[in-house]
């Protein structure tokens, strides 16, 4: 049995090249904290620029109200600005949900058979290409100032886009799924709950986010032309009284509403499509 020659080992170790010592200092700011700081800067940059522009009087009140004036508008508006906000939110959310559901159902229906697809697709494509905003006067004549009219307007504004996108998702079945259904002699159009809906949910989020923006525009235009309460109505009446600070406040609230709904949509969707995030 060989014994270790410690002296020889120590001599050999002395001859080995000395490696540079690693930098033991931890990073001062972690990567996630950097991202949070950048996000905060992005959120605060706009208001900061606004405050600077008004503080140094670079832009006149005719074009850009002061931040204080916009905050004062909260107290000036009657009824309370939050009531207007609530009405607009309700019309938007109700119309968006109904429109998305209707669009998905229409898309599943036209995918049932090629005959139904050929029969309905030309009409759907035509209606989809009509700008929803252009149909506002038509709905005002039909429904007047009623809430139903505004909700149905949002539904028609987004349902056809969602329907076409849904149909496309169901047509573009991955090869491995087509082979799977054929191997077990199953018609994929009959697997609505087990297959069609999950596949639709996987692919439809970008269309829905875009449709949300469309829905906001449609709601505001409908309120501009035919409402007695809501942010769009408030913008219209403020224009008549040159209350630019109120208009600004409404626009800010619309931006907040759109952002909150977009975040809620994205987070809710990731829960719905739970298998993709794991």
């Amino acid at each position: 049995m060989q014994t270790l020659n410690h002296k020889k080992i120590a001599q050999e170790e002395e001859q080995l090249p000395v490696l540079a010592k690693p930098n033991k200092k931890a990073p001062r700011i972690s990567a996630s904290l950097k991202l949070k700081i950048l996000t905060a800067i992005g959120c605060l940059a706009g208001p900061a620029i606004w405050i600077c522009l008004k503080h140094f009087d670079i832009v006149s009140d005719r074009y850009l109200p002061a931040p204080i004036a916009v905050l004062d508008a909260f107290r000036e508006v009657e009824p309370n600005i939050l009531v207007h906000f609530a009405y607009t939110s309700f019309r938007l959310v109700a119309g968006f949900i109904a429109g998305a559901v209707a669009g998905i159902m229409i898309g599943i229906f036209i995918n049932r058979s090629e005959s139904i697809n050929r029969l309905l697709s030309p009409s759907l494509q035509s209606m989809r290409s009509i700008p929803a905003i252009a149909t506002v006067p038509f709905f005002l004549l039909w429904f007047g100032f009623s809430e139903w009219g505004k909700i149905i307007l949002v539904v028609t504004g987004i349902a056809f886009n969602v329907a076409i996108a849904t149909h496309q998702v169901l047509r573009d079945i991955p090869e491995k799924d087509r082979i799977l259904f054929k191997s077990f002699d199953i018609d994929p159009t009959t697997f609505v709950v087990q297959y069609s809906l999950p596949r639709i949910f996987e692919a439809l989020l970008p269309t829905l986010r875009f449709s949300l923006t469309t829905a906001v525009g449609v709601v505001i235009v409908s309120e501009l032309l035919g409402a007695q309460i809501g942010l769009g109505y408030l913008i219209q009446t403020s224009r008549s009284t040159f209350s630019i600070h109120v208009i600004f406040l409404c626009m800010l609230l619309l931006g907040v509403l759109n952002s909150l709904l977009d975040i809620a949509l994205t987070k809710g969707w990731s829960r719905l499509v739970y298998w993709k995030s794991n």
Partner: protein
């Protein structure tokens, strides 16, 4: 590992016969007047990646259409299991089996192969490992009992123990009326090799014929 035959009746399958198959893909003549004859009920296809094994399996199962063929087994009722995992991730393993193979969970639990998947079959497919998903897919194909079963690299993601556990069930399936054709790289499947006609692609295009390395014992 000995094969346990569940039935006293051994059903003969038709073997596999292909005559005059020609197929072009993306401008490349993959098969030209290709012929293959085997009386075996279990056939193994070997060859390097890209030599045409998967294409042949897709042609035989009817998922690709040849430009010309004189004779080929009917694709009706055949089942193809690809290399890619095709379990629906939002369904459990049991749901993936029952809904596609159109059987009840009781029938699944009574199958002798159930013990190989019982630990994880009630998980959602996205929660399973690739090896577990492969086991569930093979179970589903075996319990389905199609007249022709085409398997593309069925032992991918499986360790030697699981390969040796599954192989007897494939052999048994081939003895009870199903012609099983599989492409495979693994050399651990001794049971399969012994029971099958083994053919090898030489990797050259167009494929006109393939060499038979060994015949069913």
């Amino acid at each position: 590992m000995a094969v346990s035959i569940q039935s006293c009746i051994i059903l003969t399958s038709e073997g596999l016969q292909v005559v005059g198959l020609s197929y072009i893909r993306d401008g490349v003549q993959v098969f030209k007047d290709f012929s293959l004859q085997s009386a075996a009920s279990l056939i193994v296809l070997r060859g390097a990646s890209g030599c045409g094994k998967t294409t042949l399996l897709k042609l035989l199962s009817g998922h690709l259409q040849p430009q010309r063929v004189e004779y080929m087994p009917s694709a009706k009722g055949s089942c193809l299991v690809l290399q890619e995992d095709s379990l629906l991730p939002w369904m459990t393993g049991m749901e993936n089996i029952c809904k596609f193979a159109k059987i009840s969970s009781c029938e699944v639990c009574q199958h002798p192969m159930y013990k190989l998947i019982s630990r994880f079959v009630d998980k959602k497919a996205y929660q399973m490992s690739y090896g577990q998903r492969r086991m569930v897919e093979l179970f589903r194909a075996i319990i389905h009992r199609p007249p022709y079963l085409y398997l593309d690299e069925p032992f991918n993601f499986l360790d030697e123990i699981n390969i040796n556990a599954v192989a007897p069930f494939l052999v048994e399936l081939s003895l009870t009326g199903t012609t099983v054709v599989l492409s495979n790289h693994h050399k651990e499947d001794i049971e399969i090799q012994r029971s099958a006609d083994v053919f090898k692609f030489d990797g050259k295009f167009p494929v006109n014929s393939i060499d038979c390395l060994s015949r069913q014992v």
